[in-house]
Subunit: 125 residues, 2 copies
Amino acid sequence: MFFKSKNLYIEWSEVTIPWLKIFTIEPYREITDCPSYAIDELWRTVLICEKTLREYYKPDKINIASFGNQLPRVHIHIMARFADDSHFPESMWGERQREGDLILPDRAVFETRLIAALNAANVCS
Amino acid sequence: MFFKSKNLYIEWSEVTIPWLKIFTIEPYREITDCPSYAIDELWRTVLICEKTLREYYKPDKINIASFGNQLPRVHIHIMARFADDSHFPESMWGERQREGDLILPDRAVFETRLIAALNAANVCS
């Protein structure tokens, strides 16, 4: 976890692409179980994550997903996908296509930028 | 396509679970390329689809995804998942787990309810 606000936190998924997971702090089962202020913050955070991932990593596509079948608790995956990553054009839950060893810029710089963007949008840590 | 507003349309994905796809009418590449009024309508529509799917089909989990790697155009998948469907607990892009012949209530009744809920929320056809 590298960011936490009153309603949500963000962590990396430990894989070979830039892959963020946003969790609500309260363990709601579905998005429509969340109170509206938490949904608003969740959507705003998704957009800020997407925008910052695009600006920093310049991916070929952004992928977003909310499943939670194994862990029925609201969390949203936001992934920066590249044409030469391990699974493209399949989803990261699909069949592996290649080795996909991407050379990616420094993650810590991205974190600093994302946190600044979230704070500027009043998603405050 | 069974619903169309000024900014988006909704169609079924032809598979064995209740699976909706929401497309923006303008072919934006990423959600953050959409104008804010279209993003607002998209999020509101996602919530209304989720709520109506839950009420009508009583699924074990809702899954939501936005990929577009093959077709780089904003569209959001909303799926009603059941413990005995073909892929559960894997995502619908993961490995098939079983035959999964679900007996589901009438799709036309669901469409009528969803359209009424969208219109009531000013997502107007």
